[in-house]
Symmetry: C2
Subunit: 287 residues, 2 copies
Amino acid sequence: MAGGGQRTETASGSSFDLATAVRGGPERWTAEVDPGWTVAGRPNGGYLLALVTRAALEAVGQPHPLAVSGHFLSPAEPGPAALAVRVLRAGRSLSTARVTLAQEGAARLEALVTAGRVDPDVDPGWRRATGPPDLTPVEDCLPGRPELPGGVPARLLSHLDLRLDPATAGWLAGRPGGRLEMRGWVRFADGRAADPLALLQVVDALPPASFELGLASWAPTVELTVYLRGLPAPGWLACVVAGQLWQGGWFDEQAEVWDSAGRLVAQSRQFAGARPAAPAGDAEPTP
Amino acid sequence: MAGGGQRTETASGSSFDLATAVRGGPERWTAEVDPGWTVAGRPNGGYLLALVTRAALEAVGQPHPLAVSGHFLSPAEPGPAALAVRVLRAGRSLSTARVTLAQEGAARLEALVTAGRVDPDVDPGWRRATGPPDLTPVEDCLPGRPELPGGVPARLLSHLDLRLDPATAGWLAGRPGGRLEMRGWVRFADGRAADPLALLQVVDALPPASFELGLASWAPTVELTVYLRGLPAPGWLACVVAGQLWQGGWFDEQAEVWDSAGRLVAQSRQFAGARPAAPAGDAEPTP
């Protein structure tokens, strides 16, 4: 790690590393929110969380995020962004930083990042009996296309190779499955290997689970927390997303990401807004 | 709500409200971390999260927390604390504040609090088919006592009436069940009604699930996120906690809290450290 200051390493030159590059430091960084990591013109929440986490890792000099919590404050847009980083703890095994991403003087996202080192060789001391999800094989899944039904552009899917499990793809054909559930395979289109930073993007790569409730309106994320549990083995990542309750315009969804070796490598949970296409209420999810 | 400044309302005069009272505002608050809400002399994480959230609610003038994320930075102690609050968003339906709790100049906890109003009359638009947990009836559960095995004081359990499900109480008799799981009933001992603020305490009221893995050493919370989903009906709250993976000294646990009307009122997830009683490694969970 650079450990504060200088330009970020983007060793691989991958599109993800270029789109999450940060410059400056140690407390004031700049970045370009990339127009390519968007759906309907809006930057993806996981992408933004990865961007701010990169600045946090640089500032604290730790290799991996372990627990990241982001609160989304106002809609971000492609273009320049300023990142303010404050180191809250600088420890040997754990460091924590706060990052605020602002555009045109307005805060878009604030995140707390606790970082350390994910041991590549560690084995589970205990794990839940139910292991990796039983997804439909990649070759029988539906490739994500950079355009959603209705002509909505999903440029994110030019960068992420996404394969939706037909079991949760009913919404694509206008027949949502009726459950808060979304499953599929994810990898970077340019072959970049996944690491804990990239998993912050992967946990938010699938379409919102609310689409399977027939809530095709936009689903603004209010809060997104991610735990990074392992270094992924090469290959496809299996992603399963499920929610428990949609009520009063809010729903939760939690994601698990499993690597090709059958190991749980990331867990996330988010709180998001979703309303029917023709809203009856007067309250908006965001002010 | 007071809406910034002045002394906090502690209408009920309950021990929870007294222990989470904050004074000052709108950006600088003071509080007393109460010695009664501790286990082994350490303030409970859910208690601290409720304390900082009370300051956030006062500062933004919203009635209820909706999504709260806290990163625990260093061990808090009973005694005076300073709370710095920064309002990050002030909206009609959603507001967000950051709160930093410090003691003797050192940051102990930083939290992001998104707040709004939980509608008391809303019904689920959709919910997962599996409903309230099938806990052992209250009268057949084990009452929590303010002293853990080994004589460790758990003063928290003078304030919280806790009834542990025998199915996850094997650790009490030296026969841990072997799974990251903990279940039980919770209510305030003095009869205070639960509300979304109090649920921040309730999600962290049960002993760490790691005790059922035989990891009886202290389990320091690194990150704790809570979503508040409803206003609880009067009566006992059913709490179920389950984790997925203990690896490299870290484990996750998620909690659900269900009210006496069978409604999900809170969801939480935490990332915490737990090591065997005689640690072989050299890394400490906290620096």
